[in-house]
Each structure stands twice: as structure tokens, then as C-alpha cells.
């Protein structure tokens, strides 16, 4: 077996083990070092992935796809994980199990990587489960805070249900089509109601990872209750991986007309539910959670036109990546402001903390899709992919939703910018502040980097 093909994943795995060991020997106040080690390991994984860029083949008996989509996932997932890990050292400084947090984060990253590259349903199940199980722990990491525990519990309950569906669905598909291997399944899934049921069940498992309707309920709770670094991670990394996995899966069954329609309906419902609920939030983290649900809805537009629109895959990956960046920036602002989360507490913040407010404004405007921020390019790509197809109406729904979303983003920004300052503002500083500015820089730079990204991705997807 070409073990080197999985070098990026192995780097993450071995780093996770090393972090776990290091956390056992280090005194608690030095656990911040584990963050450094985790970042190094993730960086190494990205470097190894770059070394394998350009490969287009299946590996490990056809269970793992090495293609441009995997390459992009191998760069974006650890990259975003690095930013999230950087938020944690001061945030968790007083936690007795501070060091283990990074091990958990790395295992979850590994699950996401496995999910994104999976070219076999069993492999997919393994990736989804690894990512989910570690996710529950990350969400409930503030063990003596009820809201965090509740978030973890909700995440777990919804996840257990969705993952059960996933496994049952895999069994159905395997029973009908006789294989779990994507190369065999590709185009070979019969037009059979059972196969459709099976695929729908598998999709439900992935919808859970993406936070799409109807298995989206965990997102706002995790955004509110999980430690901010974990919230940033869980609303970004598993979603990106889930999006790639979903794309691969839908790509297998071009003949099933019901599938794109189902996804289009889920997309429309997800963006609408997310946006309409976000309007009523008084808590910034919950608001970001609901907005992240709606962003999933936009992303699903690209999945609905798989195989019809040539630019669906780059649109999906590009959109998810810039969404992830903007979301990390938003959570980094919350972390930098020591978890300040009531929208009312943001009144007049521009005077006291101009940097944080500017960063939050940039993140939100990117999420709305105001040009020339990268979020616009993402949405533009999604619209371009959808408008040429029979799903043009999805773009219209997305437009209506975007207008609604501007309203609630401005509900945070307007008082922060226009009102008079109130009270003192504490900040976290340290690596959280560094991450804030690094991610803002990447988000702004993404506008320029979009062209090479787009050119490099093409339509490459295996099988």
C-alpha cells in the first residue's frame, strides 16, 4: 500500500498522539505549548499536501481519492484548523485539560480530512464518525458550564440520529448496488426507490455535518455554548469537509433527477430558515450560528447543479473556504473581546476597540457578499453556477435571503459604529489577537488570490 499517499493525514494523526503525550508530561500552565505543536503538525500536513498537489488517482484500494478537490480540502481544512487552534491558548488557559483540547481538535481535523477524500462509503462513515465523536467533546469542553454541556448534548443527540441514518443508508445503497466503492457505484446506482431512500439517508448524515435543514438544530447551540475556538472550528471545518463529501456522493448518481431537486429544496429551506431565525437573535454567537446555517444553504446551491454546471465544484470549494475565513474572523472577534456576546454589549464599541469592530464589519460584509470582499466572489460563483441551469430560481431565493441577512448583520454593526461608547472593554490578546489579524489579512487577500485558486481547481474530481 502506498502509505506515502496519506502522508498529510498521517502527519495530523501522529501530531495528535504527540500532543496527547506532551499534555501528559507538561505542567498545566505550560499546556499552551501543545498549541504550538498542533500548529506545527497541521502546517507540516499542509506542506505534504502541497507536495502531492497535481495527483489524480485513487489510492488505498480505491477508498481514497487524490484529486484537486482533495488537495484543496487538505490545504483549507488544516489551514482553518490552525487559525482555530490559535484562538485557544489564552481562552482555555485555566482549563485543567487544556492540552488535550488540541489533541481532540487534531483528531477532528483528521476526521474531516478523511471525510473529504473518501471514495468509498465505508471510508465516508469512518470519517463522519471520527469527526462527529470528537466534535461532541469539543462542543462540551467547558465542562462546568451548563450551556456548553447542553450544546454538546444537543450536538450528540442530533448527531447520533443523523449518523444512524447515514449507516442505514450505506447499507441500503450497498444492498441495491452491490458495492460501497465510488468507482463501481459511479453511474451504476439503479433508478430504484430503495436506492433513492438509501442515498437520501446518507445525505441526511452529511446534511448534519453541514448543518442543513432538518438536522441543523445543533449549529446555534454549539455556536453559543462551545468554547469560542471550538465553535469556530465546528461551524467551519466539518462543514467544508461535509460539502466535499456531499459533492462526491451526488456526483455518483447523475441519472437520479430527484436527487438534485431534493438538494435544491433543502438549500432553499436551509438558507431561509437560517436567515429568518437569525433576525430574532439577541446573542451574537447564536446569530453567527444561524447565519452559518443560512450560508450552508447557499453552498448547497452548488451541490444541486452537480454535473450540470461546470463551475459547480470550484464554486462550492471557494465559497465554503471564504465563508470559513469570514466565520473564523467573526469568532476571533468574539474571542478577542473575551466572549462578549450580547448584541447590546456591542453598542459604541467602535470608539473603544476600532480594530475589532472593523474586523467584524469586514467579516459580516463578506458573509453578505459585498464586493470586492471574497464572500462576493464566492456568491458570484454560486450564482454563475446556478443561473445557467434549471435551478435559476435558487439564485433568486438566495438573493432574497441575502437582503434579509444584511438586516441582521447591520443590527450588530450599526449600534457598534453609530452609538456612543459605554463601559470598559476587556480583551484577550495574545495569539487570539494574532489570529484575528492573520485571518482578516487572509480574508482581504482572498480577493486577489481568487484568480489563481480558480485557475488551479478546474473541474477535477475523481472518480
Amino acid at each position: 500500500m502506498p502509505i506515502g499517499d496519506l502522508a498529510p493525514e498521517l502527519a495530523v494523526l501522529l501530531t495528535a498522539v504527540a500532543v496527547l503525550l506532551l499534555a501528559m508530561v507538561l505542567p498545566q500552565r505550560r499546556h499552551g505549548w501543545c498549541a504550538g505543536l498542533a500548529v506545527l503538525g497541521l502546517g507540516l500536513s499542509m506542506a505534504l499536501a502541497l507536495g502531492q498537489a497535481g495527483a489524480e488517482r485513487l489510492t488505498f484500494s480505491g477508498t481514497y481519492a487524490l484529486d484537486p478537490a482533495t488537495t484543496w480540502a487538505r490545504l483549507a481544512i488544516p489551514g482553518l484548523a490552525i487559525l482555530c487552534a490559535g484562538l485557544a491558548p489564552r481562552w482555555l488557559a485555566t482549563d485543567r485539560r487544556h492540552g488535550e483540547f488540541y489533541a481532540m481538535l487534531l483528531f477532528s481535523t483528521l476526521g474531516a480530512l478523511a471525510m473529504a477524500g473518501a471514495a468509498d462509503l465505508m471510508q465516508l462513515v469512518m470519517g463522519v464518525l471520527l469527526s462527529s465523536v470528537t466534535g461532541y467533546v469539543l462542543a462540551a469542553y467547558h465542562r462546568d458550564w451548563e450551556i456548553s454541556l447542553e450544546a454538546g448534548m444537543k450536538y450528540f443527540l442530533v448527531g447520533a440520529l443523523a449518523n444512524a441514518f447515514l449507516v442505514i443508508g450505506v447499507v441500503f445503497v450497498m444492498g441495491i448496488a452491490g458495492s460501497t466503492d465510488y468507482a463501481t457505484l459511479s453511474g451504476g446506482i439503479p433508478e430504484d426507490p430503495l436506492a433513492l431512500i438509501g442515498l437520501t439517508l446518507v445525505l441526511t448524515g452529511l446534511f448534519f455535518k453541514l448543518g442543513a435543514v432538518p438536522v441543523h438544530t445543533w449549529v446555534p447551540d454549539v455556536a453559543e455554548g462551545a468554547p469560542v475556538p471550538a465553535a469556530a472550528f465546528l461551524t467551519v471545518v466539518p462543514k467544508l469537509a461535509g460539502a466535499v463529501a456531499l459533492y462526491r456522493l451526488v456526483h455518483l448518481a447523475p441519472g437520479l433527477a430527484a436527487l438534485p431537486l431534493l438538494i435544491a429544496l433543502v438549500a432553499a429551506a436551509t438558507m431561509t430558515v437560517g436567515n429568518l431565525t437569525a433576525i430574532w437573535q439577541d446573542d451574537l454567537r447564536r446569530l453567527i450560528g444561524w447565519s452559518s446555517v443560512s450560508q450552508t444553504g447557499y453552498a448547497l446551491m452548488a451541490v444541486a447543479v452537480v454535473g450540470v454546471a461546470p463551475m459547480a465544484l470550484p464554486a462550492l470549494l471557494g465559497f465554503m473556504t471564504v465563508y470559513g475565513l469570514a466565520n473564523v474572523v467573526a469568532f476571533a472577534v468574539v474571542a478577542e473581546l473575551r466572549g462578549r456576546t450580547r448584541i447590546a454589549d456591542y453598542r459604541g464599541l467602535l470608539r473603544a476597540r476600532p480594530g475589532a469592530v472593523v474586523a467584524l464589519t469586514l467579516a459580516f460584509l463578506s458573509l453578505v457578499g459585498i464586493p470586492p470582499l471574497a464572500g462576493f466572489l464566492g456568491k458570484f460563483a454560486l450564482f454563475s453556477a446556478t443561473l445557467g441551469t434549471g435551478f435559476g430560481w435558487l439564485a433568486v431565493v438566495a438573493v432574497a435571503n441575502t437582503v434579509v441577512s444584511l438586516f441582521y448583520y447591520l443590527r450588530v454593526i450599526a449600534p457598534a459604529v453609530f452609538a456612543a461608547p459605554e463601559g470598559p472593554v476587556e480583551t484577550l490578546g495574545g495569539s487570539a489577537r494574532a489570529v484575528l489579524w492573520i485571518s482578516v489579512a487572509i480574508l482581504v487577500g482572498a480577493t486577489v488570490l481568487w484568480a489563481p485558486f480558480w485557475a488551479s481547481l478546474g473541474q477535477g474530481l475523481l472518480p
Binding site: 460584509l365 453578505v368 459585498i370 464586493p371 470586492p372 462576493f376 466572489l377 458570484f380 450564482f383 454563475s384 443561473l387 445557467g388 439564485a395 433568486v396 438573493v399 432574497a400 441575502t402 437582503v403 444584511l406 438586516f407 447591520l410 450599526a414 459604529v417 453609530f418 481568487w450 484568480a451 480558480w454 485557475a455
Partner: protein
């Protein structure tokens, strides 16, 4: 050259945002930057040429056919020149503002964005500037406005973002229907991609008309305009009316008319009707307003109605070619004239607010005594706005109505009513404010300062010049080159 005209104000905005400069320096930076842009644009004008000139390109996303493309024809050059001028006047306008550095940074930012919108030849870059103008104006109104400023700013932003997203959809569909995906305006104008028949072109046309109609604004999507104007600071109102509204009508000419001429011709009559309704609605509602700024704001709806009527006539493919050219010339001159005139009127309104803190017309009277210069400027601007011969508004409206009578005579006749009502409302406004008895609370009302007088005189001198000797402007606009050539039966 054109790139410079866009970049200088944007750089000035960046400097103002970051460097700690005083209020005076900030004001002069924000004035100087559009002044330099104005010089660059004048240089382009002096260079002469036919069609799109001063063209420059730099790649951005080549695989999608998106690039930084600039270049101007007569219409966009005239609009860019006018915008730069309005920005110079609005930034130089003496104002006591809190946080002057941010205020002037946003002004310079808006200047760069507005000039960029008129000089770009790439639809995506156009869209970028279109949206950025919303962001800039949102913060200007929200932060430096008075009264219900935040509510007005929110309404403005949400309304116009809805419009701009519809435009984005239209733009993407146009580009997707090109043989090879491109956002180059010249390519799309040269070979309009969508045929007339079918539902898709109709829907895309509708998207464009609604999108640009919101920005213009036309009835019934104008409701964001009055609150935005009333609560904005005077110079921001001048920019909003003078420059930002023109983006709507400019887009209407560039995109639906030039890029989908056959569809436009099919739907020209309904569009003309919308224009006429806006003319009447704007003037009648303006007549009923007791608030100075609200009244001027509604006359904007009225004047942009003339412009839309002229554009609809020009794209109708009916009547003689000369008549259509006449109407389009009128529409573009109206944009320039309305920019200068309403810009001046809103600056006057700003001066009144600075002195009285009030816009309620019945609270004024007899200002001609203490403030003769203000009275003179306001009267001249009002006369120009109501279309007095010898002033710019007359040239515009004459052309529009001459063209309209050749194509849609009945609509022309109804539209003329609008001019009557506008005349009445401006005359009443002048009488209420400047003549009669002065209320006690207006005692101590001071006249315009030297700077204010000079700025208004500059704008109004152009209004008179265009009114007396419009030939240079008509030659610059060159409407004949703008009207698309339709195939037989189109």
C-alpha cells in the same frame, strides 16, 4: 489616466483612515483628491477620440472573463466629470462634523467609487463599485446624519442592495450567454447576447429595470429616498442626489438599452409609462411637502422620471432616429443638469440646516433680507430645476419632450403637466422661505460665507453655461453613438 482618477481618491481615503491628520487637512485632502481626478478626466476629454477612449486593462480573474477595464465614451466621461465636480464641492463645503477624519475618508472613498463606476468597462467591476457606493453612503448617513438617520440609512442600504443583487443576476446571465463568458461591456454591446423573444430576456430585463429603478429611483420603488435625504448631512445629500442616483439611469442606458436592445424595444412603452408616473408622482408629492429637503428629494423623483422617459423613448425603436437621439441627448443632459442643480439645492439646504437646524418651510420667511446671496443661489437653482429657458434643466427637458412627442405623443402631453407642478412648487418654496415676514426665531440668520458662495457659484455657473451654450456638452455626449442599431423588425 482613468485608473489614476479612480485610485487617487481611494488612496486619499486610505490615508485619511489611517494617518492622524487634523480636520482642516482632512477636508483639503478629500477636496484635493477628486480635484486631481477631475484634472485627469479633463485631460482625457482634451485628448478627444471616438467611441470608448483612454482604454486600459489589467487581468483579475481571466478564466471567468473578469478584468479591471476602464474606458469612457461621451456619456460616461460627462457623468464622471460631473461626479468629480460635485465631490469637490461637497467635500470643500464648510461643515462642523464630529470625527472629521472618518467623515472625509468616507467622502474620498465615495468619490473614487463613483468615478470608478462611470469609467469602468467591466460589468463585475461596475457591480463592485455599485455596491461599495451603498456601503459608503450607509456609513455617511448613519453616522453623520440627524434625526432618524440610522433607520434611514438601513432602509437605503437594504432597498438598494436588493436592487443591486437583481442587477448581479442580470449581469451573470448576460455574461453566460456570450459565446465565451466575458464581462467586457464593449463585447456585450457589440453583440447583444439575448434575443428578444422568450421569457428569460423579459425576466432579465425586469431584473435590470427593477434594480436600476430602485437606485434611480422611480415610482413605486422610491420610498427609500425621502428619509435618506432628510436625515443625511447636506453634502451627503448633494452626493446622493447628484451622483448616486445617476448610477441608476446610467446603468439603465448601459445595460438593458445597449446590451439587450431588442428586449428593451419590446418593453419600452411600459418603461416610459413608469417614467411618466414618476414625473407626476414626484411633482405632486413634492408639492405637498412642508419639509424643505423632502420637497427637493421628491423633485429628484420627478426629474429622474424625465430621464427614464427619455431613455425609454430612445430605446423604443419607434419614430425617427433623430427623435430617439434627441430624447437620449435630453436624458443624459438631464442627468448632468440634475446633478449640478440638485447638488446645489441640497448644499443650500445644508446651509439652511447649519444656520437654523430646521427644514420646516412654514418656520421660514423673509430670508431675502438677511441672506441675499443664499436667496440668489437658491432662486437660480430652483429656476433651473423647474426648467426655465436659458438654464440647463430647460435644455434637457426640451430635448426629452421633443423626442417623446415624436414617439409617444400622449405620454409627452401628460408628462408636461409635471413641469407645471414643479414650477408651482418651487415658486411657492421660494416665496415661503425668502419673502414675506421673517419669524422671530430666524433673527440672526447669516448669509452664505465666501467659500459657500464660491462653491455654489461654480456649480450654478455651469448650469447657466449649459443653458446658454449647450453645444459643447451635446457634442461630448454624442448620443448618436449610444443608440444601439437594431436589425430589421427589431
Amino acid at each position: 489616466m482613468l485608473t489614476l482618477a479612480v485610485l487617487i481618491p481611494l488612496l486619499a481615503a486610505a490615508v485619511l483612515a489611517l494617518a492622524p491628520v487634523g480636520a482642516g487637512a482632512a477636508r483639503w485632502t478629500a477636496t484635493g483628491a477628486p480635484a486631481l481626478s477631475l484634472l485627469a478626466l479633463i485631460a482625457v476629454w482634451a485628448g478627444g477620440g471616438e467611441g470608448f477612449r483612454a482604454v486600459a486593462e489589467a487581468p483579475w480573474i481571466p478564466t471567468l472573463g473578469i478584468a479591471w477595464r476602464v474606458g469612457v465614451d461621451g456619456m460616461s466621461l460627462a457623468l464622471a466629470l460631473m461626479s468629480a465636480l460635485i465631490f469637490v464641492a461637497a467635500s470643500a463645503w464648510p461643515m462642523e462634523v464630529h470625527h472629521p477624519r472618518s467623515y472625509y475618508a468616507w467622502m474620498a472613498f465615495l468619490a473614487g467609487v463613483s468615478i470608478g463606476l462611470f469609467v469602468t468597462l467591466d460589468l463585475i467591476v461596475f457591480y463592485v463599485f455599485f455596491d461599495l457606493s451603498l456601503v459608503g453612503m450607509y456609513f455617511l448617513i448613519g453616522r453623520w446624519g440627524h434625526g432618524e438617520a440610522q433607520h434611514a440609512a438601513l432602509k437605503f442600504f437594504i432597498y438598494t442592495l436588493a436592487g443591486s443583487l437583481l442587477i448581479l443576476i442580470g449581469i451573470i446571465v448576460l455574461a453566460l450567454n456570450m459565446p465565451q463568458m466575458t464581462f467586457d461591456m464593449r463585447a456585450i454591446i457589440d453583440s447583444p447576447p439575448l434575443a428578444a423573444a422568450g421569457m428569460v430576456p423579459g425576466l432579465i430585463f425586469l431584473a435590470f429595470v427593477v434594480g436600476f429603478g430602485i437606485k434611480t429611483p422611480v415610482f413605486p420603488v422610491h420610498t427609500w429616498l425621502p428619509p435618506a435625504h432628510v436625515n443625511a448631512p447636506g453634502p451627503a445629500s448633494a452626493i446622493l442626489a447628484g451622483v448616486l442616483l445617476k448610477m441608476g439611469t446610467y446603468g439603465l442606458i448601459r445595460m438593458p438599452m445597449q446590451m439587450m436592445p431588442e428586449t428593451f424595444a419590446r418593453w419600452a412603452l411600459p418603461l416610459a409609462v413608469v417614467g411618466v408616473i414618476s414625473i407626476l408622482w414626484g411633482s405632486i408629492v413634492a408639492f405637498a411637502q412642508d419639509n424643505l429637503k423632502r420637497r427637493i428629494a421628491y423633485t429628484s423623483v420627478n426629474h429622474m422620471g424625465y430621464t427614464v422617459l427619455g431613455i425609454a423613448v430612445a430605446g423604443s425603436a419607434l419614430g425617427s432616429e433623430a427623435a430617439r437621439q434627441m430624447a437620449l441627448t435630453g436624458a443624459v443632459v438631464e442627468m448632468i443638469a440634475h446633478g449640478l442643480i440638485t447638488g446645489a439645492l441640497f448644499l443650500v439646504a445644508g446651509a439652511v440646516w447649519q444656520r437654523a437646524g430646521d427644514y420646516h418651510l412654514p418656520n421660514f420667511g423673509g430670508l431675502a433680507g438677511p441672506a441675499p446671496r443664499l436667496t440668489g443661489a437658491a432662486t437660480l437653482a430652483a429656476f433651473a430645476s423647474l426648467g426655465l429657458p436659458g438654464l440647463a434643466g430647460f435644455v434637457a427637458e426640451l430635448h426629452i419632450f421633443l423626442g417623446t412627442f415624436a414617439v409617444y405623443p400622449w405620454l409627452g402631453a401628460i408628462g408636461l403637466l409635471g413641469i407645471l407642478i414643479t414650477a408651482a412648487l418651487f415658486l411657492r418654496m421660494i416665496r415661503q422661505m425668502f419673502f414675506g415676514d421673517m419669524p422671530k426665531e430666524r433673527a440672526g440668520f447669516t448669509d452664505l460665507t465666501g467659500t459657500e458662495t464660491a462653491l455654489l457659484a461654480g456649480l450654478l455657473a455651469l448650469v447657466v453655461l449649459i443653458g446658454i451654450w449647450p453645444a459643447w456638452l451635446l457634442e461630448l455626449i454624442d448620443a448618436a453613438a449610444l443608440i444601439p442599431v437594431l436589425g430589421p423588425g427589431g
